[in-house]
């Protein structure tokens, strides 16, 4: 008996130990701030570069591996990285502001640091925060890009990172106009056509969009998946920034149009009550989904939507081809309103000791037409070069995932409509809290007024300098 107990105890302890160790292992791998070894045979990135050799180390801050793969494929691979330079990646996930907190702390210590940041990446939602400070360098005056280098980039991608005194503080390799991605099979069933031009006629403004939602519901489909799906289309079309000159929060009328539409859809069952990035939301985009469409921008279509549409995921050996899940069943159209979503900008950090190299990176990855075109052809991403994109748009380029549609053409048409004039440094916090607070309203737990109150409370917690409108 005693022996059994011992064996049992030993077994349990070892089981727990194994579980603990394996759990830690799998947790740490994706989060580790260490660079993935470059598989492209480029310069091996070093984890602990000698502190004194800061000028021989290109230190890059990012929140995911997207830029890393662009950098490896289109900068290191063509041999543009000098042999004596090491690349150090500091990758911190975005969740709960972790990336910005780490970046902020290091930027503030940049002057005294032996290991200076050379490049950091920023997103549209908080670009203004970094653009308005001296921590980011002027791309033209300090880094040395010329107007000729930048002429083919979309105006809006520059406006968003231009500070109040007119200085350009960053550049990006992608433009992110948004479209409405819909299921061809459902369109055929309900609307009688799956042709993007025809479908667009049914969705060309919000009134028509709402009418189609009724039709979808009648046939057992849902127009949208969750509460936040149409958020960006409304939020990008506000008439003034979220915060006015006196630090007073200003909720635009257009935001209430989103609230009212979503509440209406929720109560009538036109959406599936999911939240952005939730597993249910992802499932709605897959073979089992009954949802007509999703608002998605460039990156969302070829990375997120494609991945979710497969019955056998890529990680489990599934192939991205027709026959796997609903690959090929999606198509894109302009939708009721133009908008953008996301995007990553490259900034040069103040105090960087590798300015020449940073300029090379910016030139190659954001201005070089040949590189930009190749990125689009390889990844279906939409890149920030109007000449290259027009060329692909006018070619016979086809996306197999979108049933043979040339979506680059559609993006090329949508990109000039992007308006980022009302962006503020509070956008990320505002978006998060607005979506969270009104989720309670959609769920039926609070009234619209209470949800708005909760929004003010949460935002002032985040930004203590802001004030509630009187």
């Amino acid at each position: 008996m005693k022996m059994h107990k011992r064996i049992l105890a030993f077994a349990m302890v070892s089981l727990m130990l194994i579980l603990t160790i394996t759990a830690c292992g799998s947790n740490q791998t994706p989060n580790a701030a260490n660079p993935a070894p470059s598989s492209q045979g480029g310069e091996p990135s070093s984890e602990t570069p000698p502190a004194s050799a800061s000028d021989k180390t290109l230190r890059i801050f990012a929140w995911n591996e997207e830029f890393q793969s662009r950098f490896n494929d289109y900068f290191i691979k063509p041999g543009k990285l000098p042999a004596d330079i090491q690349v150090e990646w500091v990758i911190t996930p975005n969740e709960n502001n972790a990336y910005q907190n780490k970046l902020d702390a290091e930027l503030r210590n940049q002057d005294s640091s032996d290991n200076k940041i050379d490049i950091f990446l920023i997103e549209a939602d908080y670009a203004a925060k970094y653009v308005d400070t001296d921590y980011s360098l002027d791309v033209k005056a300090d880094v040395g890009l010329t107007d000729a280098d930048l002429k083919d980039q979309y105006k809006y991608t520059q406006e968003i990172v231009t500070n109040t005194s007119g200085k350009l503080k960053g550049v990006t390799w992608q433009a992110t106009p948004g479209l409405f991605a819909y299921r061809r099979s459902i369109a055929k069933d309900v609307l009688g056509t799956d042709d993007p031009a025809e479908v667009q006629k049914y969705l060309s403004d919000w009134d028509k969009f709402n009418e189609i939602a009724v039709k979808m519901n009648a046939k057992g489909y849902r127009m949208l998946s969750g509460y936040d799906d149409s958020y960006r289309t409304f939020a990008n079309n506000i008439s003034a920034p979220w915060v006015d000159a006196n630090d007073v929060i200003r909720v635009d009328e257009n935001m209430f149009r989103w609230v009212d539409q979503t509440k209406d859809y929720t109560d009538k069952g036109y959406n599936n009550k999911t939240a952005l990035w939730a597993p249910e939301w992802g499932a709605d985009q897959g073979p089992e989904g009954k949802v007509f469409g999703f608002f998605y921008s460039t990156w969302g279509i070829n990375f997120t939507l494609l991945g979710n549409s497969l019955a056998v995921p890529l990680a489990e050996g599934g192939k991205a081809e027709v026959g796997n899940g609903i690959y090929g069943d999606y198509a894109v159209c302009e939708g009721p309103e133009s908008y953008y979503w996301g995007g990553t900008w490259i900034c040069a950090a103040k105090g960087s000791d590798n300015i020449d190299l940073v300029r090379e990176v910016m030139l190659t990855l954001t201005s070089d037409a040949a590189t930009m075109k190749q990125i689009t052809l390889d990844t279906e991403d939409y890149t920030n070069n109007q000449a290259a994109m027009t060329e692909i748009a006018n070619s016979d380029y086809q996306s197999a995932f979108l049933g043979g549609q040339n979506h680059i053409k559609m993006f090329a048409a949508a990109a000039p409509n992007i308006d980022m004039s009302n962006i503020s440094k509070y956008d990320q916090g505002m978006t998060e809290e607005f979506q969270k607070s009104f989720k309670d309203y959609f769920d039926g737990n609070v009234s619209r007024e209470e949800a708005l109150e909760n929004f003010y409370t949460a935002v002032i917690e985040k930004y203590p300098n802001l004030k509630k409108p009187a």
Binding site: N97, R108, T133, T274, A283, K436, N445
Partner: protein, 312 residues
């Protein structure tokens, strides 16, 4: 040993006292560095306005008690306080009852439970899981399209029950997790207390014809009172500090409508803007609440026990 020894003897005696001080010094040093200094600086910081707006630091400006004032007038401090207590009580009451029952069973000599070592291990195991992982697990299990809803739907429910969109079920889930995580720990503590009771007292009670419930109420309960107080105070402090379980389960929002936002989650909200002034004020109030409640619990129990102890 003898203090009044002869002068000669005294000079030769070795003072072991200094070794004692040397050995306890690390603790006091650690306490000073990691507890006392932060505690004082928290108090100090709570009188300042200091936060980040983007990359710009606002302050620090001395504002006196303004942080405390705005905490009680602007924030919903009392709401978060009552949330914390409701969730704590929801979890603590069943925890104490179940633990008492289990402890009584495991220590009952007449029941002769088989494999009690196995059960003790099993009930303790949830405590070994990281609270965050446990919370993630519940988040997945009780999701709208999670396994619990699949079971409910297969049993004939029309639409999934949205656990995390309803106040009662969200609070209930947090309480359930706290219960599951801590009842094993409490059981072990109570068992130790019960096993420390002189068995002759139980025998005497049996010979006098007392029934099992009578023995439990009249003998066991009064004698494990010190441990009950300990359990009560530690659980109370743990309850006031409740953070990781609701934070992960509700994604840091305390939804729905901030009804499951605990005080420490509220404190955490101020970290976003490095608002050390407000954060300090919340911490100081938390400290005071914990101290006052602990004292109340302690004196209300020990007062009675002291009298009982004197009689015995």
């Amino acid at each position: 040993m003898d203090e009044k020894g002869s002068p000669r003897k005294k000079s030769r005696s070795i003072s072991y006292g200094k070794w004692g001080y040397l050995f306890i010094a690390p603790f006091f040093l650690a306490y000073l560095v990691f507890s006392l200094i932060p505690l004082i600086s928290t108090f100090y910081n709570s009188f300042f306005e200091r936060y980040m707006v983007g990359l710009d630091l606002i302050g620090p400006t001395f504002v006196g008690l303004e942080n405390y004032y705005s905490l009680f007038t602007q924030g919903d401090f009392s709401k978060y306080l009552s949330n914390t207590f409701i969730i704590w009580i929801l979890g603590f009451v069943p925890q104490l009852l179940v633990s008492l029952l289990l402890a009584a069973w495991f220590t009952d000599l007449r029941l002769r439970l088989r494999a009690s070592g196995f059960f003790k291990t099993v009930i303790y195991m949830p405590n070994l899981i990281m609270a965050a992982a446990f919370s993630m697990l519940f988040y997945t299990i009780f999701a709208d399209a999670g396994p619990v809803n699949s079971v409910l739907m297969s049993m004939g429910m029309e639409s999934p029950y949205r656990f995390l969109a309803n106040i009662g079920s969200t609070r209930g889930l947090i309480a359930l997790m706290n219960f599951l995580m801590w009842y094993g720990n409490t059981t072990i503590l109570l068992m130790a207390a019960i096993m420390g009771i002189d068995p002759s007292l139980f025998e005497a009670a049996q010979i006098d014809g007392a029934s099992s419930p009578q023995i439990f109420r009249q003998v066991t309960l009064p004698l494990i009172k010190p441990i009950l107080i300990y359990v009560m105070i530690t659980s109370l402090i743990g309850g006031i500090q409740m953070f990781d379980v609701p934070q992960i389960l509700t994604n840091g929002n305390g939804n729905p409508n901030r009804t499951s936002m605990t005080l420490v989650m509220y404190l955490n909200k101020h970290l976003f803007s490095e608002n050390f002034g407000m954060g300090g004020a919340v911490s100081v109030i938390l400290f005071l609440i914990s101290a006052v409640l602990s004292l109340i619990v302690f004196y209300s129990f020990t007062g009675k026990m002291q009298r009982g102890g004197n009689k015995a």
